[in-house]
């Protein structure tokens, strides 16, 4: 790893990190507060039988809901707003890390230094992990803050938050690793970012459709979002297989990039 390059990436993206982290912290804080304000009423409505049984499946999504604290925190992690903010670095930063520099012509200046391509890649992977980790830390701490504001810290079980953070981190790290693999494979940013976003969107779609339509449930294991089990993590009973699958995806994507990037020809930018 190159510390000067990591420092360069940090200085270039720290403001964006601050904005994203602040937004995620606020978002994380919001859902426990919403639960505290309306959770009981929502639960009563659901229990009253007013909502037909067929529609009850729509009240839960990705293991999240608004009628339990763990459910509201889980919903916060899988909600499109959180996903979108999480992808700022998992896709936005990672996909441009190599392909973006290449397109701008700055990869030449970088690789004119005594840095191997593997070292450049590893540094960018560490930067991606750092940005993702700090963003999700803000989300996790936001949830803790929201629980604290409503006096429900004990109900949340703060001891399980590191497991939740790790599960979410591995999910976004897998997206980051895939985006970096795309980034080392293309000379231009558009295909790298397009491929990465397409992968995330298809993955999200498979998870959502499997949640909302029981006949499509078999599709969920093909989605990486399926392996984010926030409720399980918060209950203290996370499934080890989730971590293994996500860790495996990261390992495969990193391995691919470490093999492909040094072998690529970097012709003069057009």
């Amino acid at each position: 790893m190159s510390l000067p390059l990591l420092g360069h990436a940090w200085r270039a993206f720290r403001l964006r990190l601050l904005v994203v982290a602040a937004a995620l912290a606020l978002w994380g804080m919001l859902l426990p507060i919403v639960y505290d304000a309306f959770g009981a009423e929502i639960s009563e409505i659901l229990d009253s039988g007013l909502i037909p049984e067929q529609f009850l499946q729509f009240t839960e999504f990705g293991g999240g809901d608004l009628f339990s604290l763990a459910g509201s925190v889980s919903l916060g992690f899988i909600h499109p707003i959180a996903v979108g903010l999480g992808l700022v670095f998992a896709v936005g930063f990672a996909a441009q890390a190599i392909a973006g520099e290449r397109q701008r012509g700055t990869l030449e200046v970088l690789l004119a230094r005594p840095l191997s391509r593997r070292r450049v890649y590893v540094t960018m992977a560490v930067a991606t992990a750092l940005f993702i980790g700090l963003s999700l830390l803000a989300l996790t701490l936001g949830a803790l803050g929201g629980a604290a504001l409503t006096g429900r810290v004990a109900e949340l079980g703060p001891g399980n938050l590191p497991v939740l953070w790790l599960n979410a981190f591995l999910l976004y790290a897998s997206f980051g690793a895939i985006s970096l693999a795309a980034s080392v494979s293309f000379d231009r940013l558009a295909p790298a970012i397009g491929l990465s976003l397409a992968f995330v969107l298809v993955s999200y779609f498979l998870d959502v459709i499997g949640d909302l339509w029981p006949d499509a449930e078999f599709l969920q294991p093909f989605s990486l979002f399926h392996y984010l089990d926030a409720r399980g993590a918060l209950s203290g009973l996370p499934e080890a297989s989730n971590f293994v699958v996500l860790g495996g995806v990261v390992a495969v994507a990193v391995g691919y990039a470490l093999v492909v990037f040094p072998r690529r020809d970097l012709a003069a930018p057009s």
Binding site: L115, A268, P269
Partner: protein, 318 residues
């Protein structure tokens, strides 16, 4: 695997170096045999698309050779690319920077990435007239010439043993070009090696010890600049008094001889001495020998292209 280093060996040595692109194997460079000696300024000439940048990118490990091999400062380009770049300063053609940084910050970051102190930076800044106030501005506000100066400084600021410069004087005004040539002369005097590609022939003629000319990916000439100039055919015009036209047809180096009354014109290649000796008995009123310049020598190499392929776009900046 390590490379056996020869501290006194050539700065660059290539043997049959070649590169083909794509599935069709379009050759961008073929069988390049080249030796650049330490301490010389070496010009790498050719029109756009001739293979200059491909050769440079092969030397720096950006591309992988399809055929042949090469060493830079004794390091094998296929195995020791990082070691090469530790000892080389590189200016890419049409250089791009992280534009949001200030010039000063950019030079600091690039020096940190190089891992070597920028011992020549202040001197280069002074010589190329980049002020402290300019360096505080973001690079995005720089003109093309200022960006090129920054590119030259980042390539040379750590006093590399070998500088590889791709079209280095592009965008520099004539005064700055002169300052840049003086910098090159000083680096050479300090024992450094300069390898630069160009299509500005006047600058190659001005600063280079030797030149290589590539055409369609192949080396077509590798000469001392002086030899190249000697070999080129100069245009000669002689005006004589009536009745004193000497026999010039058999003089070594003379061709295309035209005698029109008292006016004689011809092409002269090589030494001037035999031609002047042949004129010795004649009454010469006027004699004009067009100075040899590299542009003409170069265009002679490209004479075949004159009709069908206008690609040699050489520029004389003088």
């Amino acid at each position: 695997m390590t490379t056996t280093l020869h501290p006194d060996g050539p700065a660059i040595a290539t043997h049959g170096l070649g590169k083909r692109y794509g599935r069709d194997g379009v050759p961008a460079l073929a069988d390049l045999d080249l030796t650049v000696l330490r301490g010389e300024i070496f010009g790498f000439l050719g029109p756009n698309g001739a293979g200059k940048s491909t050769a440079i990118r092969l030397l720096l490990g950006f591309l992988h050779a399809t055929t042949g091999q090469a060493t830079v400062l004794g390091h094998d380009i296929a195995r020791d690319s990082v070691a090469i770049r530790r000892r080389v300063g590189y200016l890419p053609g049409g250089i791009a920077f992280w534009d949001e940084l200030s010039g000063e910050r950019l030079l600091d970051e690039l020096a940190a990435l190089s891992g070597q102190p920028p011992i020549l930076r202040q001197e280069l800044l002074d010589r190329l007239e980049l002020s402290a106030a300019t360096l505080r501005r973001p690079v995005r506000a720089y003109s093309r010439g200022m960006r090129q100066k920054l590119g030259i400084i980042q390539a040379l600021q750590h006093d590399p043993e070998l500088a590889i410069l791709d079209e280095p004087s592009e965008g520099l005004d004539p005064l700055m070009q002169r300052a840049f040539y003086a910098i090159l002369d000083e680096r050479k005097a300090a024992g450094r090696t300069i390898f630069f590609s160009s299509h500005v022939l006047s600058e190659v003629e001005r600063v280079c010890d030797r030149v290589a000319i590539v055409r369609h990916g192949r080396l077509v000439a590798l000469e001392d600049v002086a030899t190249l100039l000697t070999r080129r055919k100069r245009q000669v015009e002689v005006r004589l008094r009536a009745g004193s036209v000497p026999a010039l047809a058999g003089v070594p180096g003379v061709s295309d001889l035209v005698v029109d009354g008292q006016r004689v014109s011809c092409r002269l290649e090589g030494e001037v001495g035999p031609f002047l000796a042949a004129l010795a008995g004649a009454e010469v009123v006027d004699l004009t020998i067009e100075p040899a310049n590299l542009e003409d020598a170069f265009l002679e190499f490209y004479a075949d292209d004159a009709e069908g392929d206008p690609s040699p776009t050489m520029v004389d900046a003088s």
